[in-house]
């Protein structure tokens, strides 16, 4: 009888080509996703005169620098150069590229699953920390740096020491207005941004099983904000239904075999985790960040903490954050005026996110300007087919094309200095959305609520029909 194994154990074993004496494994990479930011990796490859080892397993996406408006005329020469460099590299190496005008273009972590490139049981690498997103399918997915990108390009393998296994269990049913984003911000606030460092997090429990694939992706996406390079959820019927008939998903007999193989990708009942943390879904409320780190998050009903009363180790950071954010200790979070909103990113730019925002915005007007950038061209088309774009534009918000956009501001979509933005993205770091920008992270529904009131707002009363 073999010892009980975790999902991590099973995925690791399935990809381990060899393990060195020092305990580091050489792993086979099933999918390598590259984007404009991968230029350092390609340059390293070229410097050695090497070719991409497995072009059929390597996919290029234009997303980080993708203009969200007037794509035919890129005026910024640096942005044009970044996109052209990716095109040149993709062409030279024979890679499928999802370019700006491609109906399948979008943010790398949105289109991977959408195109069925992401599947259970795969190892997915990308030079982007939010690669943990793909773990939502029961894949071993993790972000890598440029040297590692060059290594995967050259060898289709990656060296990695196996992380420790950690399980976050959430039991119960989420209340209306509470989403995967709130589960994530909740655990990161509880454990800290380094709370899961060195660990691969598996999410389990009835609240997780109850999430759609979109919600699971949001949760796994944010694992990195809690320090975990890997987030994962065992595949189940929800996973299979999402994937069936996706362009790159297996078909026919191969699909049947795949589903049978994937059904075994669960942690055995007696498997032990080096770390276990449990939450009750009933305790989770709509959550917003007040500081400059994702761990500085609280339920919308809370007050901004007083640095003198938080643990000494975190007091300096809290003081600095309040100063940067222009907030006063003791103020209620709710009612804090905002200047603008953004909905999009690989965290919350999927169709379900847009639906949740539209449900709040429907028949209402935004009091502040805002931008909505769908996670992919397909999400955009779907939203338009459902009339969501009309709801957004009638509310006074701008409906744009897909890309990383204001999540990171590389394409020029920026939040101005000192401006306060309610954002569905993943990082409230200083300057992330632009120099001096003040970012509050929250779910898309909460961003929509902030838009219609012009302030940080609890979405729940609005969902019950309260006038904004």
């Amino acid at each position: 009888m073999t010892a009980p194994r975790t999902l991590l154990d099973k995925l690791w074993a399935a990809h381990e080509i060899l393990r060195r004496e020092d305990g580091v494994s050489l792993l086979w990479v099933d999918r390598h996703l590259v984007h404009e930011g991968s230029h350092h990796g390609f340059a390293k490859l070229a410097a050695r005169g090497l070719k991409v080892a497995e072009p059929d397993l390597t996919f290029a996406v234009v997303d980080h620098y993708a203009p969200t408006r007037d794509r035919a005329h890129i005026t910024d020469p640096q942005i044009a150069r970044m996109i052209d460099t990716l095109r040149t590299n993709a062409k030279a190496q024979g890679l499928r590229i999802y370019d700006l005008t491609d109906p399948e273009q979008g943010i790398v972590h949105v289109i991977g699953p959408e195109q069925g490139l992401t599947l259970p049981g795969l190892l997915v690498n990308c030079g982007d920390s939010h690669t943990s997103t793909h773990g939502a399918f029961g894949a071993l997915a993790f972000g890598i740096g440029a040297t590692e990108v060059a290594h995967v390009l050259a060898t289709q393998t990656v060296w990695q020491r196996k992380p420790r296994a950690m399980r976050i269990t959430v039991e119960g049913t989420l209340a209306p207005g509470v989403s995967a984003k709130d589960i994530a911000l909740g655990w990161i606030a509880a454990l800290g941004t380094d709370g899961a460092q060195g660990h691969a997090v598996e999410y389990a429990g009835s609240a997780i099983r109850g999430l759609s694939m979109e919600g699971r992706m949001t949760l796994c996406n944010l694992s990195i904000e809690g320090g975990a390079r890997f987030g994962m959820i065992a595949p189940d019927q929800t996973t299979f239904e999402y994937l069936e008939n996706r362009p790159n998903a297996p078909k026919g007999a191969a699909w049947e075999q795949a589903c049978a193989d994937w059904a075994a990708l669960t942690s055995d009942p007696d498997a032990t985790f080096e770390r276990e943390v449990k939450f009750d879904a009933r305790d989770i409320a709509p959550t917003v960040t007040w500081g400059t780190s994702p761990e500085q998050a609280l339920p919308i009903t809370a007050r901004i903490p007083d640095p003198d009363t938080v643990t000494p180790a975190k007091a300096d950071a809290a003081r600095a954050a309040l100063d940067y954010m222009g907030l006063t200790a003791g103020q209620a979070l709710e009612g804090t005026p905002i200047d603008q909103v953004f909905i999009g990113s690989c965290t919350n730019g999927r169709i379900e996110d847009l639906r949740a925002a539209a449900a709040v915005l429907k028949g209402r007007k935004a009091r502040v300007p805002g931008l909505i950038s769908p996670g992919s061209a397909q999400v955009k088309a779907q939203a338009e087919a459902e009339g969501l774009d009309q709801i957004f534009t009638q509310a006074g918000l701008e409906w744009a094309a897909s890309g990383c956009s204001m999540c990171v501001g590389m394409n020029g979509d920026l939040v101005g200095e000192g401006m306060r933005c309610a954002s569905s993205t993943n990082r409230n770091f200083r300057g992330r959305q632009g120099r001096g920008a003040r970012t509050h992270l929250m779910s898309p529904a909460m961003v929509a609520a902030a838009a219609v009131t012009g302030a940080l707002t609890d979405v729940r009363p609005l969902m019950n029909g309260r006038a904004a």
Binding site: A14, I17, L18, R20, D22, G23, V24, L26, W28, D30, H39, A43, R48, D56, Q78, I79, R81, R96, L119, L122, D128, S129, G143, I144, G145, A146, T147, E148, A150, H151, A154, T155, Q156, T157, W159, R161, P163, G192, T193, D194, Q197, G198, G227, R229, P247, N248, K251, A254, W255, A258, A313, A317, V408, G409, M410, R427, F429, R430, G431, R432
Partner: protein, 202 residues
């Protein structure tokens, strides 16, 4: 890349927690080719005012000669951008000492000859205290995993495989290509046992 096992140089304290890679190098500088050098962008928005001028009161600006940083928990968290490591290395930094590091940052660091030395929080506080009046030399020994500042000796932790890489200045691609047969054999088996792992539409 040249390997190293000891280094002695001036160390500066940066008493900040959660210095993420967006701080280490803001996204707008990441399109620069490496050959142009990234040192000027290190901690750009902290070090420089709106016009790009160096802030006189920022410690790193007063002591550009330092080669070691002592800082607080969760250094290098966030984005996987290796450019954050390039900015440190190109500014002459050889080691960062902190109680914890972002996982991807630490691995990027080792790939570029930069030591991420993890020390206990209490020991880090002692080093910080010893540096309150300004930079002082620290001697780093990777073989023994120790740091020495005056009479203070502090152990640090570093994965053995990373120590080997730093000391030898090894590049993984060469090491891996030596395993070419094992990789090919693995690929063949995977293609046979998990054909679904190849993209269908390709």
């Amino acid at each position: 890349m040249a390997g190293w096992n000891t280094h002695e140089g001036p160390a500066l304290c940066l008493p900040l927690a959660n210095v993420d890679t967006d701080q280490l190098i803001p996204a707008r500088f990441m399109s620069v080719p490496r050959a142009q050098g990234y040192g000027d962008y290190l901690l750009h928005d902290m070090r420089r005012d709106d016009t790009g001028g160096l802030r006189a009161d920022f410690p790193l600006n007063q002591h550009p000669e330092v080669s070691i940083l002592v800082t607080r928990r969760n250094f290098g968290s966030g984005s996987s951008r290796e450019a954050a490591v390039y900015a440190l290395v190109d500014a002459g930094i050889r080691a960062v000492i902190a109680p914890s590091f972002g996982d991807i940052f630490a691995s990027n660091a080792v790939n570029n000859g930069l030591l991420p030395a993890r020390v206990e929080p209490e020991a880090c506080a002692k080093l910080e205290q010893a540096l309150t009046t300004g930079p002082r030399p620290i001697r780093i020994d990777i073989d023994t995993r120790t740091l020495r500042l005056g009479d203070l000796t502090v152990p640090f932790t570093l994965d053995d495989s990373w120590a080997t890489k730093l000391i030898n200045g090894w590049d993984d691609i060469d090491l891996t290509r030596a395993h070419g047969d094992a990789i090919t054999a693995f690929r063949d088996t995977r293609l046979r046992t998990a054909p679904w792992a190849w993209p269908a539409a390709h």
